[in-house]
Point group: C2
Chain length 201, copies 2
């Protein structure tokens, strides 16, 4: 277990907690006091950490994602979709059905097809409503420019996903959440750079 | 004052609070119980609301931004930069000087020049370190793709800024913060769309 802790960077008490909560399978007993762990444990441990610590998911949600990873009947894409929609966004008030219709229209125009239970269209409608209500509505052109940029970064994200389902889910969870601040910080930098250029300082 | 509340959407008790805190100048007294407010009050009120409620800035920071807006000796670009760097990012631990050097090198390669006190390079170094430490480092190529996308959205943001300084700061604050969720949600949608395409569903 101390080797597992070393290789994963996860402290032993945390590993013990994951074992107790059955998020991590027990190792093969090699003696009465020693259990051996292999690469499958290391991989599962990394995935659990990304779901618990990076994504901050409740344990019951983590269990559902792990069950999907282990369900051989599901495709890798379905497993990724399941993990992806477990990732929470900032809490938002519900948007009206009219706002939602507008979002659906844009998605259709762009040819974007999401799974039926996706929380994202309602979240987008809500985010756009917040801008509207402060008198700064986003034009269709601006939204489309954002969508194009989103496709560009998402293509990089998705192209780098590992083939293995468990690794893919871990990478998707960590990459989706921890690359968010990178994108937002770069956008703020670029705003400053562009603002300087547009005024010639 | 009730007309001001109507036109701005800011409740009267909030307006009274801003007046008491001297964030909003008093109106012209037209009688002993009536004061009249003009467009300059409405504009200042919108700006204060964006700084207090949208950006969640402390009142002393709001006062500093307002002072910059009112300081005729500062260029519009400087005022925008001042407002921009007041906007907080998620709290982060300090990055090492080595991490920071790497970020500075990238910025130089891209020709991005930020103002000297910008907190953004350190924030970016910290965000990249978080990815590193979880075993998901971001490649230079991926970072550059993100930077390009950031320029695309920032160009849209900056091109739509009003000429008036006060309006420009308000739009920059609201647009910078409230368009962040829009971009992040679109990125998650695009990830799902791309993941579906790369597997042919």
């Amino acid at each position: 277990m101390s080797e597992l802790a070393d290789r994963s960077g996860v402290p032993i008490p945390t590993i013990k907690f994951y074992l107790r909560e059955q998020l991590l399978p027990r190792g093969q007993l090699s003696s009465r006091t020693q259990a051996s762990y292999d690469d499958s444990h290391l991989r599962r441990l990394r995935l659990v950490r990304s779901l618990v610590e990076v994504a901050g998911l409740r344990l019951e949600v983590v269990r559902r994602v792990l069950a999907a990873v282990d369900d051989e009947a599901m495709t890798r894409h379905d497993v990724l979709g399941r993990a992806h929609s477990s990732l929470s966004l900032s809490p938002t008030a519900p948007a009206s059905s009219e706002d939602l219709d507008q979002v659906e229209t844009s998605l259709e125009q762009w040819g974007w097809k999401l799974h039926d239970q996706s929380p994202l269209p309602a979240a987008l409608a809500q985010a756009l409503l917040a801008l509207d209500s402060l008198g700064h509505p986003m034009s269709d052109e601006a939204l489309e420019a954002y969508a194009k940029a989103a496709v560009a970064v998402a293509s990089v994200d998705v192209s780098q996903l590992p083939v293995d389902r468990s690794d893919a889910v871990e990478t998707a969870v960590v990459g989706t959440l921890l690359r968010e601040p990178v994108l937002l910080i770069l956008r703020r930098m670029a705003q400053e750079v562009r603002s300087g250029q547009s005024q010639g300082q």
